[in-house]
């Protein structure tokens, strides 16, 4: 079907003047293909079904809306963790600020270098997983990222990597429009933990493609915040092999516009895929959207989606989550829960949980709830001497506990829990 005229015009207007970065022949082809995908799909508009609850305008306009640089009074996140830091400032790799990129069991390269190489394994992944993830739902902003991204990190994980690899995104320019594309290839039996944190830019487009081979393990823990004015769209595309493990957790704190899409394809038997998130938002201009699509295309796999949102003072939270179980994906165990805690009457939570199942021997469940603080529990705590604000915070943290429990590493979970406690304490 031809694209509607309005949409086509808007897309062309946005693409006018976009030049594809130079690179090797294969990477130029990958970028041209991606740009062609954008043209065919058209950029999202608020009339699209998939953008019903989140207005994409800030993400599609030519110039990034300005965002004040946020100066934090806290120690850097993950400071207590022994990790390998890779720093980007407004979306550009900062070698001087980063650690040495050599580590055992992993080859770390810069996307800019890789894209210029005549031959590289990245060819089989770059834009490939993204393109696979365009069906059955289109994600044109991800294709645009593939077309224009110049920087990012490329990891080839060949064994168990001792330290987590931490991508640190600093924001220094209030007009920056950053596009990063990261790739991770986890070999059979290899294991890595990827950490991401920081405000990144005034506007940030991030695309992560992850290929987890049979028996590989990929852990991902990400924190977005505390800056308030940023606009962020992130995409994670993963292909998960048999007996492989993929676990991703995102904490989002503040932000006028965050859209996190996670598109997972389980292609090997006995694999495990978990995506979880906790977000806290305060104020009418807070908007946070988790959009998840998990496809089961193998036997005896488990997937979990666990999302918790704490919303106050008119904040908006969105969840669109789908489990698609293909005909042959028998013995699928799929779980999906999205819940919001509305701390006042103005806050709103919009949820669209979906199950689409073609196999007959599966156990899938989903649920979505929206509620206020449990007054009875609040009184119970106060009757034991816990002050009102502390009692409320304790209940709010406990609401998010199920999502935080998805983080396997206790030290990482504790770092994020402490940030949440701080956020709540600053507001009580």
């Amino acid at each position: 079907m031809a694209l509607a005229k309005l949409k086509s015009e808007a897309t062309e207007a946005r693409l006018a003047g976009v030049t594809l970065p130079a690179g090797a022949a294969w990477s130029t082809t990958a970028r041209e293909d991606a740009l062609a995908r954008v043209r065919t799909m058209g950029l999202p508009s608020k009339r699209d079904e998939y953008w019903k609850y989140t207005n994409p305008t800030d993400l599609t306009v030519k110039d990034a809306p300005k965002a004040a640089v946020f100066v934090s009074d806290e120690a850097p996140l993950f400071d207590s963790i022994d990790r390998l830091r890779i720093v980007f400032v407004d979306g550009v790799f900062d070698e001087a600020a980063s650690d040495d990129l050599s580590a055992e069991n992993v080859v770390i390269e810069r996307l800019a270098d890789v894209m210029a190489a005549d031959i590289h394994w990245v060819k089989d992944i770059y834009g490939v997983l993204e393109a696979r993830g365009q069906n059955p739902v289109e994600r044109p902003l991800a294709a645009l990222n593939t077309a224009v991204a110049t920087d990012g990190i490329v990891l080839h994980v060949t064994g168990k990597v001792a330290k987590p690899i931490n991508l640190v995104y600093l924001h220094k320019n209030e007009n920056s429009d950053a596009v990063l594309h990261n790739l991770v290839k986890v070999d059979s039996g290899a294991e890595v933990t990827l950490l991401e944190n920081g405000p990144a830019a005034a506007r940030f487009s991030s695309c992560l493609e992850v290929d987890v081979a049979d028996g590989g393990t990929f852990h991902h823990v990400r924190a977005q915040g505390r800056d308030h004015e940023r606009r962020t769209a992130t995409y994670c595309f993963a292909k998960i092999g048999s007996e492989a493990t993929f676990k991703s957790f995102t904490l989002t704190v503040n932000g006028v516009m965050t859209r996190n899409e996670c598109v997972l394809e389980i292609v090997g038997d006995d694999a495990v895929a978990h995506v979880a998130g906790a977000c806290v938002g305060d104020g009418k201009d807070f908007h946070h959207d988790d959009t998840v699509f998990i496809t089961h295309d193998a036997v005896n796999c488990e997937s979990r989606q666990v999302f918790k949102k704490v919303l106050r003072n008119g904040a908006t939270g969105v969840f669109q989550g789908k489990i698609l179980v293909k005909e042959d994906a028998q013995k699928t165990d799929g779980y999906q829960i999205s819940q919001s805690l509305l701390l006042d009457d103005d806050a709103q939570f919009l949820a669209k949980p979906e199950l689409e199942i073609y196999a007959d021997d599966v156990a899938c469940s989903h649920g979505s709830t929206s509620g206020a603080i449990d007054e009875t529990a609040l009184f119970y705590l106060r009757s034991r001497g816990v002050p009102l604000a502390d009692a409320r915070n304790l209940l709010t943290l406990s609401f998010m506990a199920e999502a935080l429990e998805e983080i396997e590493d206790e030290a990482l979970a504790e770092e994020l829990r402490a940030r949440l406690e701080g956020w709540l304490a600053r507001r009580s």
Binding site: A377, Y380, L381, S383, G385, L388, L394
Partner: protein, 251 residues
């Protein structure tokens, strides 16, 4: 210790009077029991004393050691030494029982200007008291009251009381739902806390609990008031004859 005078309470949202001029004095170091038919307002009294929302005091007063209870927030009442063992203990998913206890103990200590207990000291005391109440380590780790049996919840209330060492303990039907052995455990827990400086108000329907926790004074409550006050023999009378005779006599 506790002095209630002419207390009248109605529901906030409804035009329904529940307490209709209640007088009650519990002296320091004494154990008082309240018995009374269902719906006479016993739990309401305990909630109003501990500061639950949804009730409106239209007249009367309630003081704890001379301090006006009704003016205080629930947590202030707790810090002043008031404790209510709930008729229906509340489940709090996501909050570990141990965290809950430590938060409560330290919040009260802080409110009183005392130093917080160290994690080690706290753990030692909890383990000891939990053992006496036959509360196992697993119950301490689990979320507060979630998946606890009726009797376990009641024992957990007594554990909280033992940890918080309040001055004025109100027990609302702590015996209901307990088997004979658990009743003995709970009674032992309460008796262990009996002290010249501590008072109890025990709400119950059954004489059986009062065999274990011997009250100094027994009150009969009906239709929002204390209608009769006497010694332990009053509880026996209720057990044998029900409320009909007493209510007929006072009306």
């Amino acid at each position: 210790m506790l002095e209630i005078k002419g207390l009248k309470v109605k529901l906030e949202d409804e035009d329904k009077q529940i307490l209709k001029g209640l007088d009650l004095t519990v002296e320091t170091g004494k154990v008082h029991a309240i018995m009374g038919p269902n719906g006479s307002g016993k739990s309401t009294l305990s909630y109003v004393l501990s500061g639950k929302d949804g009730y409106e005091v239209t007249d009367g007063s309630a003081e704890l050691e001379g301090e006006d209870l009704l003016e205080m927030e629930p947590e202030e009442r707790a810090a002043e030494g008031l404790f209510l063992a709930f008729q229906y203990p509340v489940e709090i998913p996501g909050v570990g029982n141990m965290t809950f206890l430590r938060t409560a103990v330290n919040a009260q200590r802080k409110a009183r200007g005392e130093e917080e207990l160290s994690a080690g000291d706290f753990l030692k005391v909890v383990r000891e008291k939990a053992k006496e109440l036959k509360i196992d380590a697993d119950m301490l780790k689990r979320p507060v009251n979630v998946g606890f049996s009726g009797g376990e919840k009641k024992r957990n209330e007594i554990l909280q009381m033992a940890m918080l060492e309040p001055k004025m303990c109100i027990l609302d039907e702590t015996d209901s739902g307990l088997d004979v052995d658990a009743m003995k455990l709970v009674a032992d827990g309460v008796n262990a806390l009996r002290d010249a400086g501590r008072s109890f108000l025990v709400i119950t329907h059954y004489q059986r609990l009062l065999d274990h926790i011997k009250p100094d004074v027994v009150h009969i409550m009906a239709d929002g008031k204390i209608v009769k006050t006497g010694g332990p023999e009053l509880a026996l009378e209720v057990e044998n004859n029900g409320y009909a005779d007493i209510l007929a006599e006072v009306s």
